[in-house]
C-alpha cells in the first residue's frame, strides 16, 4: 500500500510538470484557436535563456526579469512575423506554422547557448521527505513544483477576472464579435503569446532544475499533448487534471503493468490512455461540446 501511494504521488508530481506545459497550449488555443506546437520549444528556449543568463553571472532575479523580457519580445516577434500574415488561414496551416516556429526556436536557442546539458540550481531543496513512518518517500522538489503550479494556476484564474483577461476570453469566444466591440486582436495575441511564454519560462525553470536544461525537454513536452486530449483543448482546469491523471496513470502502469510487457511502456502509455479516453468522450474531460452545422 505504501509503495502504491509512493508511486501514485510520484506520478502525480510528474503530472504537474506536464500540466505546466499543457497550460501554455491551452492558453493559446483558447485565445487564438492556434494549436501551438512550439510550446515545448518555448519551454526549452526560456530555460536556455534563463540558465544562460545565470551562468554569465547575472543575479537570479535579474536573469528572470531578462528572460521575461525575452519571452515578451518573442511573443511580439511571432505575432508580427508569423501570425499577422496567417490571419484567416485554416487551423492546419497555423499548426504547421507553429511547427516551423518550434524548429526555429529549437535551433536558435541552441545556436546561442549550445546544446550541452546545463545544470540549473535555483535553490529549491531536493531532500527527500518521508511520510507514514518513513514508508513513503517524496522529493521535496516535487512538492515545490506542485506549489509553483498551484500559484501559477491561481494567478491565471485571477488574471481572467481582470480587464485584459476578460478581453482574452471575449476573443476566445468569437474573434469577430470581440473585434467589433473594439478589442484589438493583434495586441491580445501578443499578450496571449507573452503569457504562454511566461508559463513556458516557469515550466522551463522547473523542468530545468529537475533534469538539467537540455534539448530533450522538447520531446518530453510532447507528453503534454495527451494531457491536452484528456483535459480538453480549451480548459485550464482540464490541463491540470489531465496532467495529474496522465502522470499518475503512466507511473502506475509502468510499475504494475510494465513488467508484463518487458517495461518501457511509459513512452506510449499516456497516448494510448488518451486515445482510449477519446473514444468515449471526443471533446475531452472539460472540453466544449462540439456542435457542427452544415
Amino acid at each position: 500500500m505504501a509503495f502504491f501511494l509512493e508511486v501514485l504521488i510520484g506520478g502525480l508530481m510528474a503530472g504537474v510538470m506536464y500540466s505546466l506545459v499543457a497550460l501554455g497550449f491551452v492558453l493559446i488555443f483558447k485565445a487564438s484557436g492556434v494549436f501551438n506546437f512550439a510550446q515545448g520549444a518555448m519551454v526549452l528556449f526560456a530555460g536556455l535563456f534563463f540558465v544562460g543568463f545565470t551562468e554569465l553571472g547575472v543575479p537570479m532575479w535579474l536573469a528572470l526579469l531578462l528572460t521575461v523580457g525575452v519571452m515578451v519580445l518573442l511573443a511580439g516577434v511571432i505575432e508580427r512575423l508569423v501570425l499577422r500574415h496567417l490571419v484567416n488561414q485554416e487551423g492546419i496551416i497555423l499548426f504547421m506554422a507553429t511547427i516551423g516556429v518550434s524548429f526555429f526556436l529549437d535551433g536558435f536557442g541552441q545556436l546561442i547557448w549550445g546544446s550541452n546539458v546545463r545544470q540549473l540550481d535555483i535553490g529549491i531543496p531536493t531532500d527527500p521527505i518521508f511520510l507514514m513512518d518513513g514508508e513513503i518517500l517524496i522529493q521535496s522538489f516535487d512538492l515545490w513544483a506542485a506549489l509553483v503550479a498551484g500559484t501559477l494556476l491561481a494567478a491565471l484564474v485571477v488574471f481572467q477576472k481582470t480587464r485584459t483577461g476578460r478581453a482574452l476570453r471575449a476573443v476566445a469566444d468569437d474573434h469577430q464579435a470581440a473585434q467589433s466591440v473594439g478589442i484589438p486582436l493583434n495586441v491580445i495575441w501578443i499578450i496571449v503569446w507573452a503569457i504562454a511564454g511566461l508559463v513556458a519560462l516557469v515550466a522551463g525553470v522547473m523542468w530545468g532544475s529537475k533534469l538539467g536544461v537540455q534539448p530533450a525537454i522538447v520531446s518530453l513536452a510532447l507528453k503534454a499533448l495527451p494531457v491536452l486530449i484528456l483535459g480538453g483543448f480549451t480548459s485550464i482546469p482540464g490541463a491540470i487534471l489531465g496532467g495529474l491523471i496522465i502522470g499518475a496513470g503512466e507511473k502506475l502502469a509502468e510499475v504494475y503493468i510494465g513488467p508484463l510487457f518487458g517495461g518501457g511502456i511509459e513512452n506510449w502509455f499516456a497516448y494510448v490512455l488518451a486515445l482510449g479516453f477519446l473514444l468515449i468522450r471526443p471533446q475531452g474531460l472539460f472540453g466544449e461540446k462540439l456542435i457542427e452545422r452544415v
Partner: protein, 354 residues
Amino acid sequence: MLYRESGQYKTTYGADQAIFTIPQDRVFFALLMLVAFVGIPLVATNYVYTALLIPFLCLSLAALGLNILTGYCGQLSLGTGAFMGVGAVAAWNLATRVPDLNLVVIFILAGLVTAAVGMFFGLPSLRIKGFYLAVATLAAQFFLPWLFVKWGWLTNHAASGVITVPPLTLLGWSIDTPMEKYLFALGVVAILALGAKNMIRSNPGRQWMAIRDMDIAAEIIGIRPVVAKLTAFAVSSFYIGVAGALYLFVYLGSAEPDGFGINLSFQALFMIIIGGLGSILGSFLGAFFILLLPIFLTRVPPMLGFDLSTALVSHLEFMVFGALIVFFLIVEPHGLARLWQITKEKLRVWPFPY
C-alpha cells in the same frame, strides 16, 4: 505561346478524361520519364544515387501516402514514421522467413500488413477529427517502435536489434549496384504514383475530398464516412508501408527498427506542406526540397568561404528549416505544386500579362 489549350478540341470522352489532356503535358511528362529511366542512369554517380536519388524516391513515396490521407482526405497524421517502420519490418520478416518469395510479392504483402495496421489506428478518426486525431496518431508513433524493440520475434531476436536486408533479386535480376537499386525504386514509385493519380481522379478520391471539405455535407449526399476514411487510411498506409520497405531494402540496407521515429513523421509532413497538400506532384517536389535543403546547407557555406562547425550547421539547419516553413506557409500556403500551376497559367498567355 507554346503552352496553351485553345484550339485543342476533344471529340471523345476518353480524350477528355485522360490524365494529361493536352499534348504539351504528354510530351513533357514523356521526356521526364525518359530522363528518369534512361538519362539519369547514363550520367549519375554512385554518390548521387545513394545520397540523393534513392532516398528521394523512398521518401516521396511516403509523402505521397501521407498526402492521400492528409491532403486528400483531411485526416492529419503524425504516425508516418511508425507506419514506414511497420512496412520495413514486415518486408524484412517476409524476406528472411519465407524463402524464394518474389520481391514484388514481398512489397505488396508488406504494404497490406501496413494497411491493416493503419486501418486499426485509423479507427479513432471515426469519432475524432483535426488535432485530436493528430495526437491520436502519435499513439501509433510511440507504440509501434516500442513494439519492434520489445517483441523479439519481429527482429528474429537479433542481439543488437539491427535488421540487415538479404541480397535482393527480382526474377533472376540481382539488384546490387546503386543504379539497379535506383531503377527498381523508380519502377515501384512510378507504378504506385500512377495508381494514386487514378485513384484520386475516380470515385474513392472524390469521396476522400468530399470528406475533407466538409464531412457532414459529404455524409448527407450519401458518402459513407466510415468507408471513405478507412479506405483513405488503408491506401495511405499501404503506400507508406511500401515506402518503408523500400527505404529499408534499397536505401538503408540495415536499420534499427526503432529508427523509424517521430522525426521521419515530421519530415514527411513538411514534405507535403511545402510540396502542396492535395497534390501528387507536390509530394515529389516537397520530398526533393526537404532532402536537398540539408545537403545545400552543409555544402554551400564552405564553398562561400565560411567555415562552420558541424554543431553550428545542424542548429542553423533547424533554424532555416523552421523559417522556411513559416515563409512558405505565408507566401504560398498551397505549396510548390501551386507555384507550378501558376507558372503554367502564366505560360498560357505568355508573352502577354493576361
